[in-house]
């Protein structure tokens, strides 16, 4: 708390000059505007004849200028939304995309397109409703406004994954109809005419009009709820109004520009990194910075001749990630307390009972998965299949069994990777998909498979491993000086993961006209995997098991803190290094086979803890069993629910897991301990 208070406090206000920042932002804006307008302007001046001049002036006034304005407005709105969310939650990482608001708004867009009855509401109203819904869900799950930063981030991350998996699944299932949405989902600043921009801009007016009345109460909140209340601030009302305003800003920005991430997170933090904390200064400066950032990113897209309206998100990630990483590396990112866990377990059920129950459930589920599908394979037919009397059943069994085996293996591996990473980085958010290892492995594997289409499995493992390890190396190098502080590591990973995912998406979109291929690859799955894949994965799994067993107790000691662990005789640097290596191997080899399946490694360690298992000797096996259960369920449901149409398992893990996870978080509120 004290750290955060210092960081947002109005009392500690070094009066640093903000002119350099304003000047830099204005120079960027002016330069991009000039560069972008030079072409249409010169066309207009050279135009001969009325018809040509009319067309040229249309190009200038209806296409070029609206796009510039859209970038400025959307960038500013995302930045303001981030500023308000951060002040209201007293959390420097709260931003529209991390709280799930952006993904919620995107789902709203999709619903508006897919449900004819909601057509009239399509656009900002529906985006607003969905965005607000996502934020509310995240806040309720986190346990209210005063939730610890990590808890809130985790709930927001779960919401974000839930909504984006909904979007992904719809896109994958209705591939023909929604190519346009797929393009839009990458952020499209293309503005056909000024009319659409005008409508969306109207939605910006109410939240911006409210802001001046919000800023002072929000500043008081920085002192803590009690202090704010004692000086007469209506705390719940202020927060409600702030959430409404920020959600409206996000909805309007998404309506203008599509779900562009990073800016809401980055712009306010950039301003604060310059030593400016006064909200009345931060808000306008963040808006200006956000506007300049998005304009520059969009200018880069237009300037390099990348596909129109396709890659703004990628460019934003490209521009934003290095800035963010530089801030993290220089230690300028605020580091609020990283204490606090999702929840603590209540009663502890005996380990053996739970482990046995999970194992039995897994066996039963696998058996059910062998039998259930497009065709029901009765036990008698299964026996016939194995004995070779029923060749068709044998073929079907040969399709189902390796998938289930791979789902179970990868689920367990991803879960183990999540447990180890969360412990060793001491960060509840440190799943391999959160710290970017999964995306890094996926990007390198994909690039390799595009370069060498007939790449074998050993090659894929090699590429995935090198991608995962390289990502880990970058994260560690950047955070070395900050002693791997948990929130900084999470932030670095989020930035890198976002960048890699965007690059992967671009790579697929640019090499193929079929969006479904991109989506199916991006979410990962067990479809089409064979015994050869399972056998290739098995040695990695078996080889890592003894290492996990050996690491269980050192990881317990590490949880006591570095000094305590070192005092007990633990070689902490060695253990850290080994554990990180192990976690990366587990995640990368799983990714090489099933692609970047998300959520398992983030969710299952917490599920194991919510069930009351915190010692690694118990938490690791329980989490691995739960991971296998979740992934096998996703595999079976994805294969059989809409057969013969296949739902990617990677989309289902979040769809099945996230609601359960959020429900558990709601049911088990944080203990007092978590708020420290």
């Amino acid at each position: 708390m004290s750290e955060i208070a210092r960081w947002t406090s109005t009392r500690q206000r070094p009066s640093r000059p903000f002119y350099p920042l304003v000047l830099a932002a204005l120079v960027v804006i002016a330069a991009v505007v000039l560069l972008r307008l030079a072409d249409p302007l010169s066309t207009l001046m050279r135009a001969t004849g009325a018809k040509e001049a009319e067309s040229a002036s249309f190009l200038l006034w209806q296409l070029s200028l609206p796009r510039l304005l859209a970038a400025l407005l959307a960038g500013g709105a995302f930045a303001l939304a981030g500023t308000v969310f951060q002040a209201a939650t007293r959390n420097p990482l709260a931003s529209p995309d991390l709280l799930g608001v952006t993904a919620g708004a995107q789902a709203g867009m999709l619903v508006g397109l897919a449900v004819p009855a909601l057509r009239p509401l399509a656009g900002p109203p529906l985006l607003f409703a969905f965005g607000l819904g996502a934020a509310a869900l995240a806040l309720v799950a986190a346990g209210g406004w005063r939730a610890a930063p990590l808890r809130l981030l985790l709930a927001g991350g779960a919401c974000s994954l839930l909504f984006s998996s909904l979007v992904t699944m719809t896109l994958a299932l209705f591939e023909q109809n929604i190519a346009g949405v797929a393009l839009w989902s990458q952020g499209a600043l293309y503005q056909p005419g000024a009319q659409g921009l005008k409508t969306a801009t109207l939605w910006l007016i109410p939240p911006i009009a409210v802001l001046p009345f919000l800023l002072r109460p929000l500043e008081a909140l920085a002192l803590g709820d009690d202090a704010a209340r004692s000086i007469g601030v209506a705390v719940p009302f202020t927060r409600l109004l702030a959430a409404l305003a920020a959600a409206a800003l996000t909805a309007a920005a998404v309506a203008i520009a599509g779900p562009i991430g990073f800016i809401g997170l980055l712009a306010p933090n950039l301003v604060r990194a310059l030593g400016l904390y006064d909200l009345k200064t931060v808000a306008p400066l963040a808006a200006l910075t956000g506007a300049a950032l998005l304009l520059a990113a969009d200018g880069a897209v237009a300037g390099t001749g990348l596909s129109t309206g396709l890659s703004t998100t990628v460019a934003t990630a490209l521009v934003g990630t290095p800035l963010l990483l530089a801030l993290v590396a220089r230690g300028r990112m605020p580091a609020p307390t990283s204490r606090g866990d999702v929840a603590t377990g209540g009663r502890t059920a005996p380990f053996l009972v739970v482990a046995l129950a999970c194992a039995l459930a897994l066996i039963a589920l696998c058996a059910f998965g062998l039998a259930w599908g497009e065709a029901w394979l009765s036990p008698a037919r299964l026996v016939d299949a194995v004995s070779g009397r029923d060749p068709i059943a044998a073929l079907i069994l040969d399709i189902r069994a390796p998938r289930i085996a791979i789902a179970a293996l990868t689920g367990a591996m991803l879960a183990a990777s999540g447990v180890v990473l969360q412990s060793v980085i001491r960060n509840a958010l440190a799943g391999p998909e959160i710290i970017g290892v999964t995306q890094g492995a996926a990007l390198v594997t994909l690039t390799g498979s595009l370069l060498w289409p007939l790449l074998g499995r050993p090659g894929a493992f090699g590429l995935a491993l090198s991608g995962g390890l390289a990502t880990l190396g970058v994260i560690l190098a950047i955070n070395y000086r900050q002693r791997f502080e948990a929130l900084r590591v999470a932030l670095t990973g989020l930035a890198l993961g976002g960048l890699f995912a965007a690059l992967t998406y671009t790579l697929i979109v640019e090499t193929s006209a079929q969006p479904a291929r991109a989506l199916i690859w991006l979410v990962g799955g067990t479809y089409g995997r064979s015994w050869a894949d399972a056998l290739a994965l098995l040695p990695w799994f078996v080889a890592t098991l003894p290492a996990l067993a050996l690491l269980a107790r050192p990881l317990d000691l590490l949880a006591l803190g570095d000094d305590a662990a070192a005092g007990l005789g633990l070689p902490i640097a060695l253990i850290r290094g080994l554990a990180l290596l192990l976690a990366t191997i587990l995640a990368s080899t799983a990714v090489a086979i099933v692609g970047p399946i998300g959520f398992v490694s983030l969710l299952t360690p917490h599920l194991a803890r919510l069930l009351g298992f915190h010692r690694h000797g118990a938490r690791l096996p329980i989490a691995m069993l739960l991971g296998a259960l979740l992934t096998v369920t996703a595999d079976i449901v994805g294969r059989a629910a809409l057969a013969p149409t296949e739902i990617p398992a990677g989309a289902l893990t979040a769809l099945i897991g996230a609601p359960y996870f959020l429900w558990l978080m709601i049911r088990r509120p944080a203990t007092r301990d978590d708020h420290r």
């Binding site: 296409l63 023909q176 309206g309 040969d398 370069l451 289409p453 090499t511 089409g528 296949e646």
Partner: protein, 307 residues
């Protein structure tokens, strides 16, 4: 200078095609032993099902049959009652297995990672639909007739169908020449559902191949991946003295006026000249020989009807 995106893609493309795979073969991968005459074929792509139907050897199973009528809609009689084997991207292996096929035909760019699994179910051929540095997708489609014909033991019929399709296209070309409309510039756009967001078919597409045979001048001249690329609004505004075929994304209830309501379209010269024609929802550009024949006729009618 920064390498442009196209340079990079060309580099990736050039690296990805190993010299061992010559461009004249249309099969990227195929099982070592194929049936002499396949009778139970599973088609994992519309154009393969369409070709098989034309050869009067309809597949026993195909991908996305429920979308086929809406997007191709040709040779429907012969494809009635074909078993659904899931989506084109992720066909249901179980559904395929239960059909006990003797041949599975797919496309390399979609199904290459599945080759081993498909082959474990039945002999498999994956066709490479990428068309080298000069050809068009029309050339590939015409070649495919003979190739698929050989798989199902219909070589003479295949030759006949190919000749018939080429004759039909030649007739269309003659109609254009007779009306003095040869050499007109043609642009084919596919709607994507977004505002002013279109694919434009490029010089390697089926439309480009048809334009060549019809004696029309095709724009643009560049070659996109899969025969398409995204059209910029600036390019849209510059579409003067062209006949534009706008392939619809929605059903017949939405007309051209509704499609071109945006501010940008008001400034497209071709629209003012009445030379933009809405063509009902289809993906004939990605279809087979019947699609090619049908598309040629539609484009010819359009150019003839234009002012």
């Amino acid at each position: 200078m920064m390498p442009s995106r196209r340079d990079i893609l060309t580099l990736i493309a050039s690296l990805s095609v190993s010299p061992a795979m010559a461009e004249d073969t249309l099969a990227l991968r195929q099982s070592r032993t194929l049936p002499r005459v396949a009778t139970r074929v599973v088609a994992l792509e519309f154009l393969i099902a369409e070709t098989l139907a034309m050869l009067d050897r309809p597949p026993i199973g195909m991908s996305d049959p429920k979308y086929y009528p809406g997007w191709i809609g040709l040779e429907l009689d012969r494809l009635a009652g074909v078993t659904d084997v899931g989506t084109r991207q992720q066909p249901s292996l179980e559904a395929i297995a239960r059909l006990k096929p003797d041949l599975i035909i797919g496309l390399a760019y979609r199904h290459a990672p599945l080759f081993d699994v498909l082959e474990s179910l039945a002999p498999t051929v994956l066709l490479e639909f990428g068309v080298g540095q000069t050809g068009t997708q029309l050339d590939a489609v015409l070649e495919l007739i003979g190739m698929i014909g050989a798989y199902v033991g219909r070589d003479p019929e295949a030759a006949k169908i190919r000749a018939e399709v080429e004759r039909s296209i030649a007739e269309d070309a003659a109609r254009l020449a007779q009306a003095g409309r040869s050499g007109r510039r043609l642009v084919v756009l596919q709607e994507l559902g977004g505002l002013d967001t279109y694919w434009v078919f490029t010089a390697n597409s089926m439309s480009a191949g048809l334009a060549q045979r019809l004696g029309l001048d095709f724009w643009p001249k560049d070659r996109g991946r899969d025969g398409v690329r995204v059209l910029t609004s600036q390019e849209l505004l510059a579409l003067d003295d062209v006949d534009i075929a706008l392939v619809s994304y929605s059903g017949p209830q939405v007309d051209l006026a509704a499609k071109t309501k945006s501010a940008a379209w008001a400034h497209v010269p071709a629209l003012a000249q009445g030379r933009v024609t809405l063509i009902e929802r289809n993906i004939w550009n990605f279809g087979g020989p019947a699609s090619a024949r049908h598309l040629a006729t539609r484009l010819t009618d359009m150019v003839l009807a234009a002012p």
